[in-house]
Structure formats: structure tokens, C-alpha cells
Symmetry: C2
Subunit: 156 residues, 2 copies
């Protein structure tokens, strides 16, 4: 993959491989205790008594796992830049299937397109459709991340 540095390098329709992450019971319960203390995110036995039939990851934990894969794979070379005026955020986060201990989640980012930033003409908002799929091929998460990248300078 060539280096993705400016907004224009993210070609609409391209799909970027973000690699994989193996989920553990320890990760699920640590996140659950801190951010989403519902019984089925805390304890295997409580999970067994729920509709899920066991311990499952918080949806926020699953979304954050996608973010880690995205940041570590795509962002090191990129001109993603935050602003104190706020970030364009995330849309349509969907938790499609339970994530359980031992699941290996594979991530991708599909470039939906980009829009000029309304607040700063030297930036564009790149819309990424994120996916996480488990080893059985079942989609567990989709989301749309709006990321702010610098446009390629006219003299480069």
C-alpha cells in the first residue's frame, strides 16, 4: 500500500485492510467494569443468565477495537489532524452480532468519499465505513467515521 498522507490519497471505494485483534475475557470485563457495567459485560455466569448466553463485549468496546486497528494501521503516515473546534465524529454505529472471548476480529475501512471542511478550507472530511468481521465471517460491527485530513498542498 502506498503512503496515505493527504485527503486526496483516500480513493473513494478503496478498501483498506486494518489487520486483526483477538478479544479476551479480561479485555471484555476490564472495559465493562470501567465504561459499561451491565451484567453480561462483567461476568460469564451473569451472561449465561441473559439472552446472550455468556460474556459479551460492550458495543463501545467493539467500536474502540475497530478504532485501534484503524489508528495503528492507517494513521501513522496520514495527515489526520484534530481541531479544538470539534471533530466531525461518528455515525451509524451498529452492533450486529455478539463479540465473545476468543473471537478474532478482522477490520477494514472502506472510503465512502470526502467533503470539504466547512470551517477550514485546507482540510477535507474523509468518510470511512468501518467493518469488523469475526473468524466465522459474520459481521459484528459497522460504523461511519468522519476523519479530518489535510488537503494535498497545491505545490506538491
Amino acid at each position: 500500500m502506498s503512503r496515505l498522507v493527504y485527503a486526496e490519497d483516500y480513493e473513494t471505494g478503496s478498501v483498506h485492510d486494518l489487520g486483526s485483534h483477538k478479544v479476551t475475557a479480561e479485555e471484555i470485563t476490564a472495559f465493562g467494569r470501567t465504561y459499561d457495567p451491565q451484567p453480561y459485560h462483567l461476568d460469564e455466569n451473569a451472561g449465561k443468565e441473559s439472552a446472550f448466553g455468556g460474556l459479551i463485549a460492550s458495543g463501545w468496546n467493539t467500536a474502540a477495537i475497530w478504532m485501534r486497528l484503524y489508528v495503528t494501521t492507517l494513521l501513522p503516515d496520514a495527515a489526520a489532524e484534530g481541531t479544538v473546534e470539534g471533530s466531525p465524529g461518528v455515525d451509524e454505529v451498529r452492533f450486529l452480532h455478539p463479540v465473545r472471548p476468543g473471537d478474532v476480529l478482522h477490520g477494514t475501512a472502506e472510503i465512502l468519499g470526502s467533503l470539504p471542511s466547512l470551517s477550514a478550507p485546507e482540510f477535507r472530511i474523509v468518510r470511512n465505513r468501518g467493518h469488523l468481521v469475526n473468524a466465522g465471517g459474520t459481521q459484528v460491527l459497522t460504523l461511519v467515521l468522519n476523519a479530518r485530513f489535510r488537503s494535498r498542498p497545491k505545490d506538491s
Copy 2:
């Protein structure tokens, strides 16, 4: 506040106080290392060199803080129930202002309305607009959480 047990108890337009949470540098960097390792989520000095001028929380960390306040305040009495067929998820997550160490964030949940579940007639999807505001009165986060609650049984 009376006990909120069934979908019908969440009155459209009502606003529920979720209490407050004080953010620490340790929380910001722990979340950043694990889920969003961009320099300004990891280290005060790296933050100083960024547009943010210091360490700031990952937007996912801020959203998860809202979730913790929501779960611990509103859900203990509620009939929120997950399903292995997936969760209706989250929309319109907006990171409006940087969250820094020492910020005290106050949460609310505003009930936007509810819709019948398409997959299970005994459930409704309650749409909540979540807000987090810092001690200076600045909104730092908004989101829309779609939560699945059991409808009040006809005989109760």
C-alpha cells in the same frame, strides 16, 4: 424520579440527570494506549505540540464516559435487554470540544421518542439524545443512543 422500568416510562421530551464524572490524565492515557494511540491522547508534551495544546481524551473515551453515567444512573431499574440478533446502536456521535485532565463532565439523557422493534413486538427502541457538558458549561459531546426496552405488559 420514579422507577423507569418499561419503554413506555421514558416520556418523550423528558431529560434525565446522569450525574458527573471527573476525568484524570491517567484515564485519558490508559484509554489512549489501549484504543486510540494518537500522540495527543498519550502524552502531555505531544499534546502541546498538536493543535490541541495539551493532552486530550479520545472521543471514544468521552463517549464511553457518557455510557457509564447512563448505565449506572438509568439502567439499574430498567428493562433494557440485548439480543443476539444485534443492537440498534448509536448515531450522530459528535465531539464538540476537547476534554482535558481535571474536567468534570455532567451527563444528561433526553428522550427523543420510541419506535416499535421490527424484530420483536414485545420491545420498543427508545432513542436517547446524550449530552456531556463541562464545568464551564461548554458541550463536549452529543450522541443518539438507540436502546431496546421491553414494552409494559398488557396486564400491568
